[in-house]
């Protein structure tokens, strides 16, 4: 059975094409591109909410996109235990929908961060199965609001349920600190309780091809397919 996937495009998404290429190249299966005003979603194994600045980041990052027509279908898709991945702005949209806990606020040092960062997996889930414990991945980030925040009670839940998928770490040649944006416990990505929905700030779709500096982003799709 071939792996089917879809990428949702919102006005202001700018990583949707990268995500489509990422899926086409790595899954070799059917890939759909869905406009946010659509009211139906084909039955696919994985949906990606891509990075970008949906609705210009007006009000709050991801706020307006989380109310788009397609979102009801995206929620149904997730409730059917199929995979949903939010990258960067997609992660912000997932927290605004309420599918993931917490919120993403301004980077601690107020800088837009566009650079390579280093992450490793924290708790095992189907998105990071092919990644070894303590394996350091080099994956770019590009965000202004990537500082993950949640209250202590929620943080304890995330830990107890093993929902923290990725955390920022030091890289071999990195002069970047361990926690680039000030996120609580250096959290770079979390899942929902059932672990079929992942939100992450780093962009794996910018680290898979020969022309990218790193190909570590492949491991996410390889984990899902394996």
């Amino acid at each position: 059975m071939s792996f089917k996937s879809a990428v949702i495009t919102f006005p202001g998404s700018n990583c949707d094409r990268d995500a489509l290429c990422y899926l086409k190249d790595l899954t070799k299966g059917e890939v759909h591109n869905i406009w946010h005003e659509e009211t139906s979603l084909p039955k696919v194994d994985l949906v990606i909410l891509p990075g970008g600045f949906s609705f210009g980041d007006y009000l709050r990052s991801g706020a307006m996109a989380s109310k788009s027509k397609i979102i009801d279908e995206v929620v149904k898709h997730a409730n059917d235990n199929r995979y949903l991945l939010g990258i960067c702005n997609g992660f912000q949209i997932l927290t605004e929908i309420g599918l993931l806990e917490g919120a993403l606020i301004r980077n601690k040092k107020l800088k837009f961060l566009g650079k390579n960062c280093f992450i490793k997996k924290k708790f095992k889930n189907n998105f990071n199965l092919s990644i070894k414990d303590n394996q350091v991945l080099q994956i770019p980030v590009a965000h202004n609001e990537g500082n993950f925040y949640c209250d202590t009670e929620t943080l304890n839940l995330l830990k107890n349920n093993e929902q923290i998928a990725f955390e920022y770490c030091k890289g071999e040649f990195s002069n970047t600190g361990e926690n680039i944006n000030g996120s609580i416990e250096a959290i770079a990505g979390i899942t929902n309780k059932k672990k079929n929905v992942l939100g992450m700030m780093p962009h794996p779709e910018r680290a898979y091809s020969d022309f990218h500096q790193s190909q570590d982003g492949r491991l996410i799709i390889e984990s899902l397919i394996s």
Binding site: L59, A63, K67, A103, R106, L110
Partner: protein, 79 residues
Amino acid sequence: MRIKILVRLKSQILEPQGKAIEQSLNSLGFKEFSNIRQGKLIELDLPDNMSKEEKEQKIDSACKKLLVNDIIEEYEVLG
């Protein structure tokens, strides 16, 4: 009827913009200014003939559904 809704980050949430503004003001000589935090003001019109209860209920619902993220923000209707 003009409605003004003040939305701000909860006091325990880091607000780096306020910090940057504070540093800038301090360097301009406004040394007494401290604890600066930046919020946002949303203004909108509602029909004059709407009852107070209906108005409050509509504003509250709009804030909960879209205007405010209650994980990080709080709001107040001004005036």
